[in-house]
Amino acid sequence: MIVLAALAVLLPFTGAAAGLLGSRFPRRRTPARTARRRAAWFAVVPVAGAAVAAAWLAGWQATGGGEAAAWPVRIETGSVPISVGLQAGGLAALVGVLVTVVALAVQVYSVGYMRDDPRYPSYSSFISLFTSAMLLVVYAGDLIVLYVGWEIMGLCSYLLIGHWWEDRANSRAAVKAFLVTRLGDVGFLFGIFTLGLSAGSFRIDDILAADLPKGTLVAATMLLLAGVAGKSAQVPLHTWLPDAMAGPTPISALIHAATMVAAGIFVVARLYPAFLAAQPTLDVLGVIAAVGMLGAALAALAQDDLKRVLAYSTISQLALMAGALAAGSEHAAIFHLVTHGAFKALLFLCAGVVIHHVESNLMSHMGGLRSTLPVTFWTMTIGFAALAGLPPASGFFSKDAVIAAIERAHGPAQPFLYGCALVTVGVTGAYAARAWLRTFFGSPRTVVLPHAGDHGGGHRRVPRSMLWPVVLLAVPALGLGFAGVRDLDAGSAATSVVIALLGAGVVYALWRGAPELDPARMLGPFRTPCERAFYLDAVYDRLVARPVLRLARGVVRADDRVVDGAVRGSGRAAVGLSGLLRRAQNGNAQLYVTGVLAGVLLIAVAVVVLG
């Protein structure tokens, strides 16, 4: 059965290779249209195959198939060997289905969304490569193999954020995303080293089975947490995610909402026994999660860019999952991960439709779209309901599971975490309501800008290939929660719904009073700090980016003046010294004879005196 997992990893990979090399081949005789059509096939068919394989694997697992694993290759490194192999347990099978389904939806959606893009072949190939890398992370049985997939995901994220590289801002956002996550990944790699060396194996099973000392576990999991914070955009490494919205919207849906950013949560869940044995790490994770969920929710409330609202809400929701992990319930975290993957991908794809139609990302340019985009309105309503945690959408059930888990938890960080989670629920209701109202209700405010958003041109009809995935994703976003209906905690569910409705109600009341004004004005003097996400970017710029560049310039100067200066100086010194010696070799025979005579005299005197 592990062949299915291997197939799921390899199919998108071959799709990526074929798309990159084969779409335009032979270059001279392939018109752009043919290349696009070919690339679309290369993109959609393999990922569909991967989805079938992943679903089959999950079905087999659900019907009592047990765990599948294979370790075909062992690479000797001279120390701890690397076991190249795949392993699919229940968690991996479930997340594998999520990844492939969202990837398939995004690939189909992109065919329409990127219709006019000349670089569609490379775009779709990078999505395929990303899908393959993410599935490698999900099915990896060895931490080094997992790390390989982990980093390739980061590369694809970089390439796709920077897809419209003509604009320098997109390029900067891509670089920022890669570097911030890479910084976390260094810690992640060191965490892998710690676990691997102590357990004598990089295989996840061996590591979890090994009886490691607590100090080692705490150190290792703390280091892993750095990578998790980077990839899953948690405080303090979250600043790349809002900027990453510079990429095409389907990418935001796939990579920066549903899958890659959830990989951090997935990895913690995958290694959960190790984390459970390291309580200090879980406490730290709890504090990070508490700060992150509330801060990001407040930031989301003040954004004007629809995609940035969703980006901050992703940070907030991921923090909620991290909170569940900190509270000791991996089950709730993964439940929320899956439902969030569905409804956030749905929200982004809907936002893409809206942006495609309005040609602006800014909500102040939207409004009254309920009648012009009815399908999108209804699907996005489902998405927002799930985001706010309103029944019967999926988010209601999963968020309830998370809140209930946090409520029941112990530990020093628990009261803080629980308080933040409840406030976050209210703020989430508020920003979801604000985005919903400002996008679909009120009077149309559309201003046609010379160059806004992703494309040029006027209002456009939405292609069918974009609507189908949206409708299909709306089904799990609405119904997936019923999988957890049995575990529903009525008390905490009622509390969180009331709080969410309270938040939404405040926004509605404000909006009702003056539909043309932004309800974010209720933040008062805090509005600007929230909009700027509490100035963290500026702080990092001052504390990290600029000092490093200053240091770099200093190094170049020092290299020229000191290190190379010493080399050149020694050369000059040698020339100067030889200039001195040259004085004696001036070709004057009289001088030479005088010198010889003086020498003879000296020797004679020395012989007489010493002899």
């Binding site: 000797e76 001279g78 590369l155 590289w165 003509e166 891509a174 770099a552």
Partner: protein
Amino acid sequence: MSWLPIAMLAVPLVGAAVLLLPGFAGRTPRRYGLAVSGVTLVLAVGLAATFDYGHAARIQFETDLSWIPGLALRFHLGVDGVSLPLIVLTALLTFLCFVLLAGRPPRRPRALVFTLLVLETGMIGTFLALDLLLFFVFFEVVLVPMYFVIAVWGGPGRRAAAVKFILYTLLGSAVMLLGLLVVWAQAGTLDMVALAHGHTIARSAQIVAFLAIGLGLAVKAPMWPLHTWLPDAHTEAPTVGSVLLAGVLLKMGTYGFARIAIPILPEGAAALAPWLGAFGVIGIVYGSLACLAQRDLKRMIAYSSVGHMGFVLLGFATLTPVGVNAALFGNVAHGLITGLLFFIAGAVKDRYGTADMTRLGGGMLSRLPYIGSLLTFACVASLGLPGLAGFWGEMLALFGAFRPAAELSRPLFLVFMVIGGVGTVLTAAYFLRMLSRVTHGSPVVPEGPPVTSAEEVREVLGGEGPVEPVATGTVVAAVAAVAAPGAPGVPGLGGLGEPPERRDVTAYELAAWVPLVVLILIFGLWPKALLAITTPAVQAILRGVGA
């Protein structure tokens, strides 16, 4: 006695000697060098194919002849798992350089082909030699042709760069020779195999010898702070010179550590390894920071070599099998990746007439999509992305530093590991910054001559001084148009306002680059291909350490 290693030395040498025949004066066959280096490559592949991988630690294809009996010097050649990858890499890179030259014939082709073939003999000989003095001879043989490559075919500042290169490395070699003499005086033999199999040299003598030999090798590697010859040499050298310099010559320094310094002088290595590691990690961070503030593309790649070689030195310094494996892997990966980077940088310089990043402007991906994409690929490989060759060397070096050999201080090496980890982030930072500046954005109106290189312009002008292509504006453009009347896309005097069409990658360039791309992918996705060869050999190298 095996004929293969001797043939690998003889073919390029005889090929070079044949060029001296008067019949070749003025009319060298265009593909002569290609053919000779092709034969050498075939021999190298044959060597790799017939190599017994089951006994990768054993010296194979051994040739042991008496050379100078009075001094007990022997002509001892052989191949094992440490040298085999480097020999094949050398033959491959030289061949690819000739592929490039076949597409773009240089000035004075006969002299260049001669020089490069002699260079190839020296490089392959260095990796084949199993006698210390023979190693030293080949090590030195390499310097002279490389000096001429830089001094004759280089850029505007070539004279100074070439002189600096040869004096600096000769000084290093002199120190190394002293170290070799200490070994000889103490052990009474110069045979590497015999020395590695347990000749007891006193600890103090080992430390002195390791210091001297290590210094000589460190100049070549180059190790911070002995690196300043490198950026000048790389910046001024022609493309083929840069490729061979980065791809092979630097490896001779690090190969020396694996072949001589560590196995023959294990106690000296143990005593000085912390210093080696310290200078290695300083090099990583220092090189990365220097890259971050560089303006010139070739100079930036040169400094990136300092950083990457820092990882290799760190790997050696750990004195663990995994660390030495990392160093050997990093060696090969760096040769492939930086070779590719210099090929591409050369192509960029050919087309833009400059490698100055601010003058390159940006938007290379839209103007030269193939070259821009390949540059992106090479940079991503060089910053150590898993799945590409550069990753394994760096990762294993850090892993080696995580637990160094028993006699080394673990906290110290943990600090090295963390600094090295920061270095990987800085490495990513400068490569992505460069990509962002050069390949992204929209193309701006280029300044200066579009097709001809600064080198050609200088020739036309007949001057020696550095040419500033931008300084004279249209005048230089006019000169360029005279210099290359048939070149595509040379704008008329009035046509400077719009970006001219430039030729994207040529067939010859592609033929020279694709093998490197493929190998980077293969070693990245299948590191076992290399680790399986080096691991047994590494165990043999480290036999003396900790014993």
